[in-house]
């Protein structure tokens, strides 16, 4: 069946089974491979994208349910929060194997978009759904704080 999706501001029509998770639509059919597969059951966060601005696990969201939503993958990240997170990720050398990091960046960006100045507890709560087997957690936390400081400082000087 054909489904019309809005991904990174563009319309895409895909002809797949309605129960196909959005993850496999973007990866296998739209060639957007930045979104990763880690568990397939909403346990690891590797497949996180933004659906109407909310960090969402695409491995358990069907293509049928994705119609009419505004979907942003790592390839389409534009917001100042996203740029700040990615800049901090490079500056602090956060990724190791990197396989979880698209999901980490998506979750961190969604957090900062909602809460520009998160506490340690806020960060733990927002990020504990994203597993990193390389254990980059300390640098992820530091990266979120570095990105957050950019906004707090910008807000103060504005």
């Amino acid at each position: 069946m054909a489904y019309l999706l809005t991904i990174n501001g563009q319309s895409h029509e895909v002809d797949v089974e309605g129960d196909m998770p959005l993850l496999w639509v973007v990866r296998d059919h739209l060639n957007l491979t930045g979104t990763k597969f880690g568990c397939g059951m909403a346990q690891c966060g590797a497949c996180t994208v933004h659906v109407d601005g909310v960090a969402t696990r695409t491995c358990v969201m069907t293509v049928a349910d994705s119609v009419g939503k505004n979907i942003t993958t790592i390839e389409g990240l534009q917001s100042p929060q996203a740029k700040a997170v990615q800049q901090a990720w490079v500056e602090l050398q956060v990724p190791q194997c990197g396989y979880c990091q698209s999901g980490q960046v998506m979750s961190a960006t969604a957090l900062l978009e909602q809460n520009p100045n998160p506490t340690d507890a806020d960060i733990d709560a927002a990020m504990s759904g994203n597993i990193c087997r390389c254990g980059t957690y300390p640098r992820i936390k530091a990266g979120i704080k570095m990105a957050s400081a950019q906004f707090t400082n910008a807000a103060e000087t504005a």
Binding site: V16, M41, P95, N130, T136
Partner: protein, 726 residues
């Protein structure tokens, strides 16, 4: 990096026959002679302007001023792109921003691991074996640039200086790119002419300002096996047997084949393969397979039964792995023997990227794309399977989403599975993808073990005799590496860390039982040290308590002839405030120190206990790994190794019920998440010794340090992993 570019650059340097090879050797640690072979550059003067000009097997320079370093090891997060490129750039005097990295092809004649004798990554050897070789490769390329400049400017080469990617003399100056074509035609420099820098001259080695070269991981552009896309590519999944050793008796694929997008279903050695247009189609079709399994050769025991057998085994004498004096007579004469039994579960690697591999078989040749950790042995295994020769097998290595040992499988299990499938779909690239459930349930695992340690203390409270018995599967037995790694029935990976006991105990003996069990096992980050360090460090702590001694002071006394462990332990203790800072009520502090892969790590852990729950609050680590090529990456690896080991200390456990693995995914194989990650502080011992391992040595001390911290609060001794207060 996309695959097309990958292929293009891979063929940009014509593989013309090498005119000559030159061996350059230099002394290194442990008395090893590290050799480097430089293939002489082919005549490439007519190359297109963007093509890389090969200076030697590791270094190419393009007229656009890019320095490309070929990396002979797999980048799986440990930072090997950056580490090896740093060594090249240091001696080349390149500007760090002009350096790019790419995985080297599978070619053991040029890219062998000098500590293994074959191309492969493991044992925390990447920097250790490459440190001199990469520096020599950089120095040789620099010499060719200098020679080209000297000829062009008609000046003496010795008066030419090179700095930050610029070659200069008086009023002359040129970039590497401008000299590349001429430099590639220079003769390969001879060994005597290469002068390497002294540590005092290093500009990049030891600095934190070298950003990682495995780029694209913050924006989704880095390419892993999972992301490989090739024209006409199909996706395969495999229905593996529900128990290890079961085989397919019969299967009915009619419902699966009726699904749109399903191409083929067929039996292979490891189960039934479904080949389809994409992953979801393949997985849904797999659910429709009706398979009858033959369990007559299957392992049908539960892990509880297996551990019970091991507990019996350690009560009986085993093969002697190491013997000093006669501990039995001392122990039997003692009226007060301390005895502890330790238990360790099977563990899954659970690397973030589930196992996968892309293969295309055309007649008797194969082309592979994957995060290849063992090019030489994988290549040989593929060639053997296809009945062809190694030169018919091409491997393109891409980033691996973690490994922790799993990707270096001595049987090349997942690699051969993918080739078996691709062979049935000739001339078509096929991507084999394991689901997380496959990854958790189809093996391989860190073996389960039981240890029994017994010791007697002398009048001063120091151990004067110790008996150690270990029971657990051999990782090496039955593999292609058995001949090399199993001696007189002793698989060193089962006992390492308890043999060559770091603490001074005059009479000691280590014995081993290696029972055959039908559960596939493999090394897991830090291999034998994952369990031996726990027994050793928890046991020593228990002996210190018995002797009424401070755990750090007790260790230092028993390490007085071991200056390296002493220095590392003292540094960690000092930085952690051991014995000098007060802890809140309900908190405890524990210590462990261990040497593995040539490096020593001490960790001091603070835990807080609340009823039957506890939290690891802080870890202070000290590491002596020789020269830290990139201190930021060393610290990242220590944090990573701690997180990985802590996950096993707190939660990881694979169990079997009647031969079925109970765990399926991250909801029941619980791994460390951010909310349980402690603050980690890492201190590096300054050193001018040759670099030693970094990826693994941080793992062994963490679990015992946590157990010892819990002991400090509760007064109990913890001898099972994962740790439980109740």
């Amino acid at each position: 990096m996309n695959i097309r570019r990958f292929l293009k650059t891979d063929t940009a340097v014509p593989d013309s026959s090498r005119r000559s090879f030159l061996k350059v050797s230099a002394g290194a640690s442990a008395g090893l002679m590290l050799g480097v072979s430089f293939s002489a550059p082919s005549a490439l003067a007519q190359q297109a302007s963007d093509a890389a000009l090969e200076m030697n097997a590791f270094v190419s320079i393009s007229p656009d001023n890019t320095v490309k370093v070929l990396i002979k090891h797999l980048e799986m997060g440990q930072g090997v792109y950056t580490g090896l490129a740093t060594c090249v750039a240091e001696e080349l005097d390149a500007d760090w921003s002009q350096v790019v990295c790419e995985h080297a092809p599978a070619d053991v004649t040029k890219y062998a691991n000098l500590l293994m004798g074959q191309q492969g990554t493991g044992g925390s050897t990447a920097i250790a074996n490459s440190f001199m070789q990469m520096r020599q490769a950089g120095a040789a390329a620099k010499a060719m640039l200098v020679a080209a400049a000297a000829a062009q400017w008609q000046v003496d080469a010795s008066e030419i200086t090179v700095s930050n990617g610029v070659v200069s003399h008086g009023n002359h100056s040129a970039t590497f790119g401008e000299l590349a074509v001429a430099a590639a035609q220079q003769p390969t420099p001879d060994r005597a002419s290469l002068t390497l820098k002294t540590p005092g001259e290093f500009k990049l080695i030891g600095q934190d300002n070298t950003l990682r070269k495995d780029v694209g991981k913050h924006n989704g552009t880095a390419i892993y096996t999972q992301d490989v896309k090739l024209p006409g590519m199909l996706t395969a999944v495999v229905a593996h047997p529900p128990r290890f050793g079961s085989t397919v008796r019969s299967f009915d694929a009619s419902a699966a084949l009726a699904r749109r997008g399903v191409q083929q279903v067929f039996e292979i050695d490891s189960g039934v393969a479904v080949v389809a247009s994409d992953y979801w189609t393949a997985i849904k079709a797999r659910e429709l397979l009706q398979i009858e399994w033959d369990a007559s050769d299957a392992e049908t025991r539960s892990s509880g039964d297996i551990l019970a057998q091991y507990r019996e085994l350690v009560e009986t004498p085993g093969a002697i792995a190491e013997a000093h004096g006669n501990p039995d007579s001392v122990l039997s004469a003692s009226s007060d023997v301390t005895e502890l039994m330790f238990e360790y579960p099977y563990l899954a690697h659970a690397q973030m990227e589930p196992m996968n591999c892309v293969a295309q078989v055309n007649g008797d040749s194969a082309v592979m794309w994957y995060g290849c950790q063992s090019p030489t042995s994988d290549k040989a295994a593929i060639a053997q399977l296809l009945g062809t020769s190694g030169d018919k097998v091409t491997i393109h290595t891409v980033f691996a989403g973690g490994g922790f040992g799993r990707r270096a499988n001595p049987a090349s299990d997942y690699v051969l599975e993918s080739v078996q499938i691709a062979r049935q779909v000739p001339n078509t690239p096929v991507k084999l993808v394991w689901s997380r459930e496959d990854d958790m349930q189809a093996g391989y695992y860190r073996p389960a073990y039981v240890h029994k340690l017994s010791a007697a203390l002398d009048a001063a409270g120091k151990p004067n005799a110790m008996k150690i018995r270990i029971a657990g599967q051999s990782i090496m037995a039955g593999t292609s590496m058995a001949a090399m790694m199993v001696r007189d029935g002793i698989d060193n990976t089962s006992v390492e860390g308890l043999t060559e006991f770091a603490y001074e105990v005059p009479e000691r003996q280590v014995e081993l039982h290696s029972p055959q069990v039908g559960v596939p096992v493999q090394w897991w980050r830090s291999v034998g040290h994952t369990h031996t360090a726990f027994s050793k460090e928890v046991f020593i702590d228990a002996l210190a308590r018995k002797a009424g001694a401070d755990p750090v002071a007790y260790r230092l006394e028993l390490l007085k002839n071991n200056p390296r462990e002493t220095a590392v332990l003292k540094l960690a203790a000092e930085k952690a405030g051991w014995g000098t800072t007060e802890l809140p009520e309900g908190w405890g502090r524990g210590v462990a120190v261990h040497t593995s892969f040539g490096s020593t790590v001490a960790e001091i852990v603070d835990v807080s206990v609340d009823g039957n729950n506890f939290k690891v609050e802080r870890v202070v680590a000290a590491i002596d790994c020789g020269i830290a090529v990139n201190p930021s990456i060393v610290k990242a690896q220590v944090e990573s190794a701690i997180a990985y080991g802590l996950s096993a200390a707190l939660a990881d456990e694979v169990t079997l019920t009647d031969g079925h693995v109970d765990q399926t995914n991250f909801h029941n194989y619980r791994v460390l998440r951010m909310n349980a990650m402690p603050v980690v502080e890492t201190h590096i011992v300054p050193s001018t010794n040759a670099p030693s391992g970094v990826g693994e040595p941080g793992t062994p001390p963490i679990a015992p340090a946590v157990a010892n911290a819990l002991a400090a609060v509760t007064g109990r001794t913890f001898t099972r992993l994962p740790l439980r207060l109740a």
